[in-house]
Amino acid sequence: MKKLINNPEVVVEEMLEGMVRAFPQYVRKLEGYNVIVRADAPVKGKVALVSGGGSGHEPSHAGYVGKGMLDAGVAGAVFTSPTPDQIFEAIKAVDGGAGVLLIIKNYTGDVMNFEMAGDMARDEGIEVASVIVNDDVAVENSTYTVGRRGIAGTVFVHKIAGAKAQAGGTLEEVKAVAEKVIKNVRSMGMALTPCIVPAAGKPTFTIGDDEMEIGMGIHGEPGTMRTNIMKADEIVDHLMSKILADLPFESGAEVAVMVNGLGGTPLMELFILNRRVSQILDEKGIKVYRTYVGEFMTSLEMAGASITLLKLDDELKSLLDAPADTPAFKQL
């Protein structure tokens, strides 16, 4: 296991310390909890946004804590949802009297832990609402299952709901726009290599030198299909066909694009992917309003990428355009 760490048992704590030491102008840590909050939390009268999940997806979610996005990011153990008490502390620390929105990725563990925390906060009289992000089209939706996973599309929820809250939206309004994003965002990913959870010390799966995994999640969980490695354009064609068909995204639509690296894939390759994404959208008559290329929702050092499309209307466009100032997401 080749990692720049000291002790697998405390990677999350040491990471958070390193983060707070890097960005004291943006964030602070709640003493005794793995919770990062805005340096100026609680912001009085503003709806507060709390997200989080397992660690290993950096800069998600603590990297998005700041003006125009989240008020708190709760960091669980690597790839493990945080516990309710941690989330509860976050809620208490950021509630500015206007209520708190929990942005939850759709994993059984995350949903249960966040909902328990929400119940605890409601018991204390804090107004709490929640939304569940499920943008991953790799997973077939069926009434018999728990539905889709939440992956990189979550960052668009943070951005847009964050802008709405910053602009003074009520809890109901912020929740409504978050749900609009969730309804209109679709993602799918793939991986070339596994990653190693520090505490486990070995790869989350094994894969041949000429193979790739399609529909990969962000926790090293197997994808929906394993195939021989394909060219970048073929990979994009496949992912885009699933994504486009799902909403569906149709000619005349305007979208925001996110090409997200999973951790081990260099920016050069992400741009090569975006080239094809953009070509396909051109061919389909779908207009690209904004593009984000980089690492937004990672899976430790896994090589691979995901593509996210968000269908925009005027409200979403103006909220997407709003400035944001956080350690990992800045927009002027």
Binding site: A77, T83, P84, D85, G109, M112, V139, V146, V197, E221
Partner: protein, 212 residues
């Protein structure tokens, strides 16, 4: 059968030991259809549990079980933390104030545990989860109530084992493995396995106790 607080603490410690022994195995099962952490999660949780309940031999059984539940909830995270945590919390609530547990209490608390897991996780039997091991066990306990604790426990463990093995033949409908669809077939569910291990350890402790 009569379990006092000291014995209860002993049983929980035994469960903790067994879970830790099986840490690698549970994690390996989870790596096939999940995210390769179930053993890590569970052993972390039970390490904290053992620390918490050491010295609680004086408390009533309900309090001890609730402490186990709260500790699991606040240390494990993931899916198994709230699920097992809620199970122990509900079990504890079902026997609040009792300094001793008899066989009927055992059935009561096991029913409550099952109910807690089903409430929290919204899973039914046949969805490849903890419920597939726990529900048949609780049913066996009830079915064999009249035949006494020994028979009932042996049957319960037997049924839990069958339920656990049956998870290999079904597609996951809940939890992380559900994202795999058909690819979850052929793999044994980690949660059902940890549940079987816990039940088996508890039974062994109780039956040992009986003979002595």
């Amino acid at each position: 059968m009569a379990v006092d607080s000291a014995k209860l603490v002993e049983i929980i410690k035994a469960i903790s030991e067994k879970i830790t022994e099986n840490k690698e195995y549970l994690t390996q099962l989870d790596s096939a259809i999940g995210d390769a952490d179930h053993g890590i999660n569970m052993s972390k949780g039970f390490r904290a549990v053992v620390e918490k309940i050491s010295g609680m031999e004086g408390k009533d059984c309900g309090t001890i079980l609730k402490t186990v539940g709260m500790t699991l909830i606040s240390t494990v995270g993931g899916a198994s933390g709230p699920l097992y945590g809620t199970a122990f919390m509900k079990a504890g609530q079902a026997v609040t104030g009792k300094s001793h547990l008899d066989f009927n209490d055992l059935i009561t608390l096991m029913e409550a545990a099952l109910e807690g897991i089903k409430y929290r996780g919204k899973a039914e039997k046949g969805e490849k989860t903890i419920v597939d091991a726990l529900e048949p066990a609780v049913e066996a306990l009830k079915r064999h109530r009249e035949e006494g604790v020994e028979v009932a426990l042996r049957e319960a463990v037997e049924e839990a084992k069958k339920g656990m093995e049956y998870t290999k033949d079904i597609i996951a409908k809940k939890g992380r493995a559900s994202y795999l669809g058909e690819r979850s077939l052929g793999h044994q569910d980690p949660g059902a396995t940890s549940c079987y291990i816990m039940l088996e350890t508890m039974a062994a402790q109780l039956l040992d106790g009986k003979k002595s």
